[in-house]
């Protein structure tokens, strides 16, 4: 197995790992962290694709490498915004859960007679 | 001459790597924050110093060699400071616990 192939497998595994964490972890902070793991898996995949496109003289296809730089910066912006919203939420509300409020609990019939 | 320099590089980098290993083992095995810190900063300073020292003969050009040394100095500076800060936080935490 060559190096880039190994990194491709690792990237695929990271995407899966991050997705699992993103779905099941209840804390928003851990979801944001998991998003970063998915993101870095995707970036790594792009890096492998850039490496596959290497020609004599350069280590990889410069187009994906340049896009990776943009991608990393965009992912950082997303994380910064998300973390700031999270910190503000923690200040303003008793919990930071992202679960929906339960539907109105009372039995249907009693409400409509009023 | 080059062969001799290569041997020197192997020995120095190998020794540096050993210090890193020792430092990592210390980090994992030592009982509390202060002793772990001790292990870690030793690995940083000494291990990295030896690696840099060993690599110097392999570098082409004075400027690149200088960069390596500067990197070592910067890492020493930052690890010493980080070590201090962590140790202070630890001491404060211990005082609170008492």
């Amino acid at each position: 197995m060559t190096g880039p192939t190994l990194f491709a497998l690792v990237a695929a595994a990271l995407v899966g790992t991050g997705l699992y964490g993103f779905i099941v972890s209840p804390s928003p902070l851990r979801k944001i962290l998991a998003f970063n793991v998915i993101g870095s898996g995707v970036f790594l995949m792009f890096g492998v694709i850039a490496r596959r496109g290497a020609i004599a003289g350069i280590g990889g296809d410069p187009v994906p490498q340049a896009l990776l730089i943009t991608g990393i910066v965009v992912a950082f912006s997303a994380t910064a915004l998300a973390i700031t919203v999270l910190l503000r939420l923690a200040e303003e509300a008793p919990t930071t859960t992202l679960e929906p409020a339960p539907p109105r609990g009372a039995p249907d019939a009693t409400r409509t007679t009023s | 001459m080059t062969a001799l320099l290569d041997v020197f590089t192997y020995v120095a980098v190998g020794t540096g790597a050993f210090f890193f290993l020792a430092g990592t083992v210390g980090l994992l095995r030592f009982p509390d924050a202060l002793t772990r810190l001790h292990a870690l900063t030793k690995a940083d300073n000494l291990g990295l110093g030896l690696v840099v020292f060993g690599l110097l003969p392999q570098v082409d050009g004075f400027a690149n060699g200088l960069k390596l040394v500067v990197i070592w100095l910067l890492v020493m500076l930052s690890s010493a400071d980080a070590g201090q800060l962590i140790a202070r936080a630890e001491r404060r935490a211990r005082r609170r616990d008492d």
């Binding site: 995407v15 993103f22 993101g39 998300a82 999270l86 503000r88 939420l89 509300a93 992202l98 929906p100 | -």
Partner: protein
């Protein structure tokens, strides 16, 4: 490759952004003035672009920096983009006029947070949407998607309260998963095709695991951002909690950005890959969205939540066109009357939904609340606001010659022609369900009011702005008839056949509202077994909706959908 008038494309993207930056630098009251000037300039550019497109009849193209794709990036505006550019400009301008009263810097302070941020974000949403519309490159589209999210999320929590912050965070984090899946797809397509330029990818892409995976992931990610059922966990609280001038932007426009990219993907990037089965899944989700969105809307106490659930249902409506646009002979999605109908519906919903949220905001302002049950007398107190709401609602029902009416006709024809009768049922049923919640609100606001709860007067310009946007939905029908749609479709609305159809839609809507709505006036006694059963059914829908909006369930649904699309494509090939 650059066509005449191409320079308008970078202009329509950058003018809003430059306006936003200038507004930030100037700050305070000056920011609002800059925003107003930018709105005027942007509207002019969009209209000019429309004129150029109609004049040449060809897609407008601009090659940035002179670097031809695949190495460089080109901006393109075809008929779809051009019509959306104009629609977005009109809706943004309408919202901008409306928002002046709500977001002006208060006297006595040089700058206030809410107003400044609102104007900056409004312009940013506009620039991002224009970028989505004209971008000809899959990675630039990714940046556009992220820009749109970053501009949209802070609009949700402008009031800074705990619950809206929660809604904003839920929206942001879920949307981020959507964009990362989109990016994954783009990465795979680059690996496959060695380019990200849409026409070149379309030439080079072929049925292969990477292509299936890419299209499946990108579609699922975009659906999460569009909030198609069952990926809608974030939409109701976010759209209902934002200030009305922000809800209007979010509900009318922001969700359309990702929807538009789905169209690009399925019609332009890889028209032969998805196949009919995947389109049926998409439309099936749309049908479920209509059912869930409408029935849960009927159970809401608050007007803004009702409208938010209506958005959920209307988003479902947009996806019904996919199986109808599939050409069995070529095995591809083709641009035809079904796609035209989809775009008409998109634009009609944009204008109508903006108007409905704006009207709801005015009612909130007049009464200090938006509890539907306590809005009695609103018709007399704020007639123009109520009119704007109802006109918007009627436009969505598709009964009178509005954009949605034409769209429905075209889709019904396409469904009939391709023998997919079940979509005819859904299309008609969708109209009934839309009628039901419009009628429900109408019934409440026309009741005689309580004199004690005298509402506050609302600014006339705001009412006019809302009404004007609602009426745009009808103007759209005229525009479409002079444009891409055959004029025969626009019958006399008072002809007996049309009148009967209109009356039937309203009548069935009334029936649905009476049976399913939770807080209607007690026309049917609660003891009535049919009513009790329907209430129970409605309750079951509401609970299912709540269960599907659990984070883990919605996250799982995202992946399951991606798998379904992938599997459908695999079988198609």
């Amino acid at each position: 490759m650059t066509t005449p008038g191409g320079l308008l494309l970078p202009l329509c993207v950058l003018v809003p952004f430059v306006g936003a930056m200038a507004a930030l630098a100037i700050g305070g009251r000056g920011a609002q003035r800059v925003a107003m000037a930018t709105l005027a300039a942007g509207l002019a550019i969009a209209l000019w672009n429309g004129v150029v497109f109609i004049g040449s009849g060809q897609a407008v193209v601009y090659v940035l920096g002179g670097w031809q794709p695949p190495l460089g990036i080109a901006l393109r505006a075809d008929g779809l983009s051009t019509s959306m550019l104009v629609a977005v400009a009109v809706v943004i301008t309408g919202i901008g006029v409306y928002a002046r009263a709500d977001f002006s810097t208060p006297a006595g302070s040089s700058e206030a947070r809410g107003p400044l941020v609102y104007w900056l974000l409004l312009l940013a949403v506009w620039g991002s949407l224009n970028l989505v519309l004209v971008s000809g490159d899959l990675f630039t589209l990714y940046v556009a998607l992220e820009l749109l999210t970053f501009a949209g999320v802070p609009l949700v929590c402008l009031d800074g309260k705990g619950e809206t912050l929660r809604a904003a965070l839920r929206y942001l984090v879920y949307a981020l998963a959507g964009s990362v899946l989109y990016l994954l797809g783009a990465v795979l397509l680059y690996g496959l095709c060695g380019t990200l330029d849409i026409p070149l990818v379309a030439q080079r892409v072929h049925a292969s695991p990477a292509a299936w995976m890419a299209i499946a992931m990108m579609t699922a990610g975009l659906l999460a951002k569009t909030a198609l059922f069952p990926l809608h966990l974030w939409l109701p609280p976010a759209h209902a909690g934002a200030p009305p001038a922000a809800s209007a932007v979010l509900s009318a426009l922001v969700v359309k950005g990702s929807f538009f990219i789905v169209i690009r993907l399925w019609f332009d990037v890889a028209p032969t890959l998805p196949g009919l089965a995947a389109a049926q899944i998409l439309a099936g989700l749309g049908a479920a969205a209509i059912l869930f969105g409408s029935l849960v809307a009927l159970r809401q106490q608050r007007l803004k939540l009702l409208i938010a659930y209506s958005t959920l249902a209307q988003i479902g409506y947009l996806f019904l066109m996919f199986p109808l646009a599939f050409d069995a002979a070529s095995g591809a999605f083709v641009r035809g009357s079904a796609l035209t109908a989809g775009m008409l519906q998109t634009i009609a919903h944009a204008t109508a939904k903006a108007a409905m949220f704006m009207a709801a905001g005015l009612l909130y302002k007049a009464y200090g609340h938006d509890r539907i049950a306590d809005l009695a007398g609103a018709l007399r107190a704020a007639p123009l606001s109520v009119l704007a709401f109802v006109v918007g609602g009627v436009a969505l029902m598709g009964v009178l010659p509005s954009g949605a009416y034409l769209a429905k006709k075209l889709l019904l024809d396409a469904a009939g022609a391709s023998g997919q009768w079940w979509w005819e049922v859904v299309l008609q049923g969708g109209g009934f369900l839309t009628a039901s919640y419009v009628v429900l609100v109408l019934a409440q606001v026309t009741r005689r009011g309580d004199a004690a709860a005298a509402p506050v007067r609302v600014p006339r310009t705001q009412e006019v702005a809302a009404l004007a946007l609602a009426l745009c939905s009808f103007a759209l029908a005229l525009a479409a008839v002079y444009g891409p749609v055959s004029g025969d479709l626009l019958g006399n609305p008072l002809a007996p056949k049309e009148l009967i159809s209109t009356l039937m839609t309203v009548a069935v809507g009334c029936g649905v509202a009476l049976l399913f709505a939770r807080d209607v006036p007690p026309l049917i006694p609660a003891g009535n077994p049919l009513r009790a059963a329907m209430l129970a059914v409605g309750g079951a829908f509401e609970r299912t909706d709540a269960a599907l909006r659990q984070w883990a369930v919605a996250g799982l649904s995202l992946l399951v959908l991606a798998f379904l699309f992938g599997a459908a494509m695999r079988t198609h090939a």
